[in-house]
Symmetry: C2
Subunit: 131 residues, 2 copies
């Protein structure tokens, strides 16, 4: 099995793309164990830099990312994962994608609709707020 080239901190960035729509849902980081679990369990798993531990996407929200295909880039230092999202949104702020704002000369503009109320799903703790 191809082993990615991890950064000095032991992590590699992983782009998550919706397999059907092609939309980029989020960018997270994996260490070797998160990568292994992502491949073997079928559930996309990250390493949280802020909480310094593994987290399987959806462990609180129930909005899991199912691993469908894993790609590696030419330099083997970035991953692209095709996934199915088992819920209305990937973002802890209630949007389908974490990339819900575009930057314009006049400031940032929200370009997606909110799919769910994050306080209902996550409570006040927002445990997935940091990648």
């Amino acid at each position: 099995m191809l082993e990615p080239k991890y950064q000095e901190d032991g992590l590699i960035p992983a782009i998550i793309q919706d397999r059907h729509s092609g939309k980029v849902l989020m960018l997270g980081y994996m260490n070797a164990e998160a990568y292994r679990q992502t491949l073997t369990s079928g559930f996309v798993t990250f390493y949280s830099r802020s909480r310094r531990k593994l987290w399987t996407k959806g462990e609180v929200s129930g909005h899991h990312l199912l691993t469908r295909e894993v790609r590696v880039d030419c330099d083997q230092d970035a991953l692209l994962i095709q996934a199915d999202l088992t819920g209305p949104g990937c973002c802890h702020l209630g949007y389908r994608s974490c990339f819900f704002r575009k930057v314009t000369p006049q400031g940032e503009v929200i370009i997606l609709d909110r799919e769910f109320d994050p306080t209902r799903v996550y409570g006040e703790k927002h445990p997935e707020s940091q990648t």
Copy 2:
């Protein structure tokens, strides 16, 4: 103008997505100056970690990335750039996307066709080989 949250090394990862096909072309890194140039010049510009300097994608190959839309994620620590590619391939190995291999239990499999001969475009130096 929204300022991204850069990592401790002053960089932020930037996902480049083909505006028309939705394919993810590459992942690069920007510092504040690369980000400014990407927004103002219209040409996607990165900071090369290996060469420790700015590089405008296409400065050797002529395969530029034209900035069409810049999105920022919820935590403001990742960018998603919708771009048009002015050439046959984004990858210095001759593929449309740098993510031309998928990982399988039996090993890596090339899933894209080569669009150009990299030694003809880049010569022997391959100056864009490292992000």
